[in-house]
């Protein structure tokens, strides 16, 4: 959600802040998350492990950070080719946000697979996960829009988000190693 909010700011200098710019961003995030959920579910079928789970975070981090450097040239490219800012903002959102959001979307279903031990508790586990992830989204939205944009530059916030993902991913991989050695 933090990224989604920043997405609006990233696009504004080129496509404005009209209602359709938000429409583009929300559409692209929803679409990407749905694809991510689907893929995450499939991935969880193939010998799931904490290490692979950690890798999802690492991949998300690696795809997220180039937004900082690619945003400008991508938007210039789109701006020069698509006159209508509705389709311009849609094309730019697709180019910039699909990859990281799809990967982030795979995390939820994969977590369900790792956390569920018995099928009786699967509803409870899924419920807890929805609770945690949506609560996180809410807090991310609040913190970003109320404070982060007042304290930091946009690129800094994106880089920190990437850094957190990197840390979590590394944690997953390391825990797995320790587990194995124990």
């Amino acid at each position: 959600m933090s990224l989604e909010l920043l997405g609006g700011r990233i696009l504004a200098p080129w496509f404005g802040s009209s209602i359709y710019v938000w429409g583009s961003i929300i559409t692209v995030f929803m679409l990407s998350l749905s694809v991510g959920y689907f893929i995450g579910g499939r991935l969880s079928l193939r010998t799931p492990s904490l290490a692979k789970f950690g890798c999802l975070f690492l991949v998300a981090a690696v795809i997220l950070v180039p937004i900082v450097y690619l945003a400008e040239p991508v938007m210039v490219w789109v701006f020069e080719r698509i006159e209508d800012p509705r389709y311009g903002s849609l094309a730019a959102s697709l180019a910039l946000f699909v990859a990281p959001t799809v990967v982030l979307g795979t995390i939820s279903p994969y977590s369900v697979r790792l956390l569920v031990r018995h099928k009786e508790e699967s509803g409870k586990v899924a419920g807890t996960l929805y609770f945690v992830s949506t609560l996180g989204s809410a807090l991310g939205t609040l913190a970003t829009s109320f404070y982060f944009v007042l304290w930091f530059e946009m690129n800094t916030i994106v880089a920190v988000l990437g850094g957190i993902l990197l840390l979590l991913g590394a944690l997953g991989v390391v825990c797995r190693r320790l587990d194995r050695h124990a």
Partner: protein, 301 residues
């Protein structure tokens, strides 16, 4: 009875909408929910006003006096005419933010050869300006329903230039933050002819004053700051080239005085009020596309 709280909420909501900001001697001519605002057109005893949003303390965006339609009702609208002291005979003008159309209408009447492009994001505002505020678009005055930032970028791409750019897109309730950054001002500056100028109607209070002033200084260097004691607004006039001398301002104000009389603009008092003094905290950082929390800054003293 388990519905009682819901019913209470509905009653509260209806009550809030019904009471609104409109006093007893005011008559609502139009209430329209547009994509961006709730638009109200209100007839008061001596004037007709365009307002956005419905909460208490709603600010007037634009007002006209039906018995004296030329008279500029608001101080900041009059102050915007100070742009004519710096660019006395603009041939091409870009106005960002239509409102009731007071400024483009006045400029079209005052300058027989001018061509004006108006950019307004909200199609409903354009409709209201035409219907209730006698705004007329023509060959000379063209309205583009678009985000101003996008319009400016396209205009640059097409190599268009303007003698005067008027930024009047900051309503009291919400500032489009991508229209207050150094990058936007830089793009606007590139749109100007060598002797061109930009005039912006912005805020004189809150922390935003420091940040915004610093942003203009970085892009334009020295600029004119026009403030009057009675207004929370200030008008910035910044030029592409060097600023004109105080004597030039005075000469232009004398030339414009007769024509501006009907608009109630005290134009000859503006030269001495147009200050180049750095009266803000210049250690504040400039606003950029990376950092532009204008609305948050406006909320803090």
């Amino acid at each position: 009875m388990h519905n009682a709280p819901a019913v209470a909420i509905v009653i509260l909501l209806v009550g809030a909408v019904a009471s609104g900001p409109v006093a007893a001697d005011q008559q609502v001519l139009l209430r329209e929910q547009s994509l961006y605002h709730t638009i109200l057109v209100v007839a008061e005893p001596t004037r007709r006003c365009l307002k956005f949003s419905v909460r208490d303390g709603t600010r007037n965006q634009s007002c006209v006096d039906p018995h004296d339609p030329k008279r500029m009702v608001f101080g900041y609208t009059r102050m915007m005419m100070a742009a004519l002291l710096v660019v006395p005979e603009p041939q091409t003008v870009l106005v960002a933010g239509l409102g009731g159309g007071t400024l483009p209408t006045a400029l079209a009447a005052l300058l027989p050869d001018v061509r004006i492009d108006v950019v307004e994001i909200d199609p409903a505002v354009v409709k209201v300006a035409r219907t209730y505020f006698d705004f007329q678009d023509s060959e000379r005055v063209r309205v583009h329903v678009q985000d101003a930032r996008v319009f400016v970028k396209r205009a640059l791409q097409q190599g268009r230039q303007y003698d005067l750019v008027i930024l009047d897109a900051y309503s009291g309730d919400y500032i489009p933050e991508h229209l207050m950054t150094g990058e936007f001002l830089e793009e606007t500056r590139k749109l100007l002819t060598p002797d061109g100028a930009v005039a912006a109607n912005t805020f004189a209070t809150s922390q935003l004053y420091d940040y915004e002033s610093e942003t203009y200084r970085l892009v334009f260097g020295q600029f004119f700051n026009l403030r009057v004691r009675t207004s929370n607004n200030r008008v910035i006039v910044a030029t592409n080239g060097p600023l004109p001398s105080r004597e030039t301002l005075r000469a232009n104000s004398r030339a414009w005085r007769p024509a501006l009389g009907a608009y109630d603009v005290p134009i000859t008092s503006y030269p001495r009020r147009m200050s180049t003094k750095v009266d803000w905290d210049h250690t504040k950082r400039a606003l950029t596309d990376q950092y532009s929390p204008a609305n948050l800054l406006k909320g803090s003293r």
